[in-house]
């Protein structure tokens, strides 16, 4: 599994280009999250892909060839923080509720909605943590689950900022063929 971060132009069709590229390279995307950055014209993507280092290099280099991709970087072997957010709707009756609350505490999940027969939990953390919670909740009956997919950021002074320098490419010199 490889994790890439990309800064892209925040406009229609860009997600399609990125997804289409992965498809063409026969790389299965495990998760792809996209959201705006502090600059509203630029969006940040975190792409988690089922591929090896070579595949990730091709994906990274091919992504940067797209005009709308400002930067793409494989951060898999860097020191990084990864987070996934899940909403889980779990069956909860009078009997199971106290037991559920215990587990929720252990996993530092939050109850964000309570209904007579169910609860909605919010949990964030690493993929392993969420998978772990899911595992212990299964016996109670998981009715619905929604997950965001991973977002990732390199630690400390290892900054990954969108580039600012305008493109250096120049307009081509006209090639004039002899008059005819």
């Amino acid at each position: 599994m490889q994790t890439l971060v990309a800064y892209v132009e925040n406009k229609p069709g860009v997600l399609n280009r990125v997804a289409s590229l992965a498809r063409r390279l026969a790389i299965n995307i495990d998760s792809l999250t996209v959201g705006p950055t502090e600059n509203e014209e630029i969006a940040r993507m975190t792409i988690v892909a089922h591929t090896d280092e070579k595949g990730a290099h091709r994906l990274e280099a091919s992504l940067e060839k797209l005009v709308d991709v400002l930067l793409a970087e494989n951060i898999s072997d860097r020191s990084l923080i990864e987070r996934d957010l899940a909403l889980l709707k779990v069956s909860a009756d009078q009997q199971s509720r106290p037991h559920l609350m215990e587990l929720i505490k252990v996993f530092r999940a939050r109850v964000i909605d309570v209904a007579p027969g169910s609860l909605i939990l919010e949990v964030s953390g690493t993929v392993d943590k969420i998978d772990g919670l899911l595992e212990v909740l299964r016996p109670f009956g998981v009715l619905e689950m929604a997950r965001t997919g991973r977002i990732a950021m390199t630690r400390g002074s290892d900054l990954l900022r969108p580039p600012k320098a305008p493109s250096k490419a120049k307009e081509p010199e006209p090639v004039i063929s002899a008059a005819k």
Binding site: N16, R17, E64, L70, P163, K164, A169, K170, P174, K180
Partner: protein, 570 residues
């Protein structure tokens, strides 16, 4: 200045130096055609939009500039797909402009509406829909930059009809390109560069693999210096042909599936390969597990995604071929390399005796003879435009190109039907050059409607059909790998000479070797287009041949006994 979007488009193209547009009108692009009529741009009416894209491509390849093709929405745009893909695979700077239905109809399945940007996304370098007249000038300028910069490629600009019709303030200064900022990568560090220098100077058996990138970056002069300074033998890719003179003793010729045997053996025996502006395509490497096992590899390439894609290299110098070679040149040391160059000469001598040119004249007409004669008659100075298949390989083997951009051919995509329209484009790019189409009887029938374009535009090219009555290359594979079961490869063709006459073009049919040179001479002397139907040996094959996926040094060689079959009348 208030102009309509259509007028802005024409004005922008004019300011970008465009002189010729290859296109076909239709409903959704009509406002642009109306404005074209009032502009100084010369529009060439094609007979099929695929032809328009190939013409723009041929124009770009022959000139080094950007070619422009135009079509209407829907079927006009979809007909361009093959030509766009051809330009993409061969990194050719083509800008395609398509009309689109009005923006309020987008997505409604309106008449002749098709999502052409969706269709062409994987086969363009970039594409964009323009729905506002205000955005046309900027977008077209951006398209030209994208198409021609870095590793070139096709760009499609889809303009809605309402954007063409709307009025807007036209101001060239305020419509400057605004491409997104890009991260400036460090292409390679000093250590990588030093490693390349060390490998180059330490090598006993070096070989340069020269590709299309040398032509694209205009590196011919520095490349020539580089080769002679280091005394480095050069093997060419198909698209690299012309980047280094064929008559230079250090030029070995073409490598790969139908490369010369000595070239492929030299690759397999080299201790260093210096790949310049090429991408280790499977047609060049054969089986990767056995490819150049003894060689260290240096890869000079502008596209980072090509590095280590097919062949793992020891030093990757990412960048423009000319810039990288200019940096390497002062560090390159001269070596005598007598043993290595002598060894290659021996390999070459062994091949020469098998060459069909050296075999006794059996009275039969072989394609190799025709092309060899064409080369001699034109002093190797013509622009030759080939299609794909056997004739293409024979041309690469027997027409020796000394000038850059004198061979135009569909390499990566291998598009049948490319040659005739691409030659028309090349003629517009180089009106004073002699242009020859060398094409098979199969490929010619795919786009022969463009003969009418030649007549309408009153241009002079020469067309040599290498007619063997088969889809020759496929037949060859069937002969070698499918036990001669010729399924769907015998090909009935019209009488091409009579067909040419029907278009108002002079046509000739040649069946014997003695008539080849006089006919070529007479075609060259004519001021009008001449088509020559060369009825060549039907079941001749291209040798040597590395079977697909086979080891590069294990080639099928020309058998000793010449063929007996002769060309037959239809």
């Amino acid at each position: 200045m208030k102009l309509t979007g259509a007028e802005i488009l024409c004005e922008s193209l004019t300011r970008l130096g465009v002189q010729h547009i290859f296109g076909y009108p239709g409903g959704a692009i009509l406002p642009v055609y109306d404005a074209l009529g009032r502009s100084k741009l010369h529009h060439i009416l094609v007979r099929h939009e695929q032809g328009a894209t190939h013409m723009a491509d041929g124009y770009a390849r022959a000139s080094g500039g950007v070619g422009v093709a135009m079509a209407t929405s829907g079927p006009g745009a979809t007909n361009m797909v093959t030509g766009i893909a051809t330009a993409m695979l061969d990194s050719s700077p083509v800008v395609c402009i398509t009309g689109q239905v009005s923006s309020k109809l987008l997505g409604s399945d309106a008449f002749q509406e098709i999502d052409i940007t969706g269709i062409t996304m994987p086969i363009t370098k970039h594409n964009v829909v323009v729905a506002r007249a205000d955005d046309i000038a900027r977008t077209v300028r951006e398209a030209f930059i994208i198409a021609s910069s870095g590793r070139p490629g096709p760009v499609l600009v889809d303009i809605t009809k309402d954007a063409q019709q709307a009025s807007s303030d036209f101001n060239w200064e305020t419509s400057a390109p605004q491409l997104p900022p890009k991260r400036q990568r460090i292409n390679y560090d000093q250590a990588e560069f030093e490693r390349a220098v060390e490998l180059l100077n330490a090598s006993k058996r070096p070989l340069i693999l020269a590709g299309h990138g040398i032509l694209v970056s205009g590196a011919m002069r520095v490349f020539d210096k580089f080769v002679h300074t280091g005394n480095l033998p050069v093997a060419m890719t198909l698209l690299g042909i012309g980047c280094f003179p064929a008559n230079d003793p250090l030029n070995l010729g073409m490598m790969g599936m139908h490369g010369e045997a000595w070239v492929n053996h030299a690759i397999q025996e080299a201790d260093l390969l210096v790949a310049v502006g090429m991408r280790f395509d499977d047609r060049v490497t054969g089986d990767l597990c056995t490819y150049a096992k003894e060689a260290r590899k240096i890869h000079i390439e502008i596209d980072r995604s090509e590095i280590n894609k097919n062949v793992k290299v020891d030093s990757a110098l990412i960048g423009d071929a000319r810039e990288v070679l200019e940096l390497l040149l002062p560090r390159l040391e001269h070596r005598e390399r007598g043993d290595w160059l002598g060894h290659i000469r021996e390999l070459k001598g062994d091949s020469a005796v098998r060459d069909i040119q050296g075999l006794p004249d059996s009275g039969h007409l072989y394609a190799a003879h025709v092309i060899n004669d064409l080369w001699k008659e034109t002093n190797g100075e013509a622009i030759v435009v080939t299609d794909v298949g056997q004739h293409q390989m024979w041309e690469a083997q027997y027409y020796h190109h000394n000038q850059p951009r004198s061979l135009v051919t569909s390499g990566g995509l291998g598009t049948m039907g490319f040659a005739l329209p691409a030659a028309i484009g090349a003629k517009f790019a180089k009106p004073d050059s002699e242009v020859w189409v060398v094409v098979g009887d199969g490929g010619f029938q795919m786009t022969m409607c463009e003969l009418a374009t030649i007549v309408q535009e009153k241009i002079k090219i020469n067309i040599a059909i290498i007619n063997n009555g088969f889809l020759g290359m496929v037949r060859q594979w069937q002969e070698f790998f499918y036990d001669k079961r010729y399924v769907a490869t015998p090909l009935v063709a019209p009488d091409f000479a009579a067909l040419a006459n029907a278009f108002g073009i002079r046509g000739e049919r040649i069946t014997s070797r003695t008539d080849v040179i006089p006919t070529i001479r007479s075609a060259r002397e004519s001021s009008e287009t001449v088509l020559i139907d060369f009825r060549v040996e039907q079941e001749d094959s291209v040798y040597p041949m590395v079977p697909a996926g086979g080891a590069l040094h294990e080639m099928i060689r020309r058998p000793d006994s010449p063929l007996v079959e002769t060309a037959t009348e239809p």
